[in-house]
């Protein structure tokens, strides 16, 4: 499977800006810049897209893992919190913390925590990341 995205940049890094597009059209000439990445200007940045990819991948994988265990998940809500810091002057993505909350009729909290932990280790986006990935899983009544 191949997936494509495009970035176009004009001008200098600090004062110029770019646009991002993806195959599905979900991003279409969507602006990004130094200030939307490292400052507080409204706009997207690579890190939040990566966090979205991870939240999406983990959540779909968790749904599969629950169905394989004979469960019917009603809802799964996951937040991905990515941390990027300067390590010896290089900006480095050091960790992603996943917080997932699910309503799954008939499942106990211990089993849910184990399945969430396995999913965290095995979903495709987790496996492609050189970063510490942690998960906090909560089963809702």
């Amino acid at each position: 499977m191949l997936r494509n995205a495009d970035a176009r940049w004009k001008g200098t890094a600090l004062d110029g800006s770019g646009v991002l597009s993806v195959e599905s059209g979900t991003l279409k000439d969507t602006p990004y810049s130094f200030k939307t990445r490292f400052g507080d200007v409204q706009g997207t940045n690579p890190e939040e897209l990566l966090a979205a990819a991870h939240a999406a991948c983990f959540t779909m994988a968790l749904s599969f893992a629950l169905v394989n265990r004979g469960c019917q998940p009603a809802t799964i809500d996951t937040k991905a919190k990515l941390r990027m810091e300067q390590l010896s002057t290089h900006w480095t993505i050091t960790s992603i913390h996943l917080e997932t909350k699910a309503r799954v009729p008939g499942l106990d909290a211990g089993a849910f925590a184990r399945i969430a932990e396995e999913t965290k280790a095995n979903c495709p986006v987790s496996r492609v990341l050189n970063a510490t990935v942690t998960v906090a899983a909560e089963l809702l009544p």
Partner: protein, 141 residues
């Protein structure tokens, strides 16, 4: 720096569906699903978002490194193509191929190739990914 995104899933993995949101609002209850990911249904998927993050990161890094060497790009156009394959039965992101075309006054092809190769090796998303990253960089007039 912290960047956040969230996913919400309802129903089973194959028939259900999810939505994605990011801090900036660029993704705002944006739909994704099994069929948008592995089939041809309209909607985003984690892999194109990783590709967008990588295209965005690489292109901004290239702009910075060109500025650092005394050049300013009129335009940098990059594309990231992500490959996901089944490896021992597990869907695995195996590589990202970056293509970039630059319009950069005053630079020669060899210098541009050198700087692009440096951006490929050192941008934060490249360093994050456990996957083979390849690059095709050229100047356009």
């Amino acid at each position: 720096m912290k960047r956040k995104a969230s996913a919400r899933w309802q129903g089973t993995a194959k028939e259900g569906g999810g939505t994605l949101s990011t801090q900036s609002g660029v993704l705002n209850d944006t739909p994704y699903s099994f069929v948008a990911r592995f089939g041809d249904a309209k909607g985003t998927n984690p892999e194109e978002l990783v590709a967008a993050a990588h295209a965005g990161c690489f292109t901004m890094a290239l702009s910075f490194m060109l500025n650092g060497a005394g050049f300013t790009a009129d335009a940098l156009d990059s594309e990231a193509t992500l490959t996901m394959d089944q490896v021992n039965g597990n869907w695995t992101v195996t590589g990202v191929h970056l293509t970039t075309r630059g319009r950069v006054p005053g630079i020669d092809a060899a210098k541009f190739a050198e700087i692009a190769s440096n951006a490929k090796a050192n941008c934060p998303i490249s360093r994050l990914l456990n996957a083979t990253i390849t690059l095709d960089a050229a100047l356009v007039s």
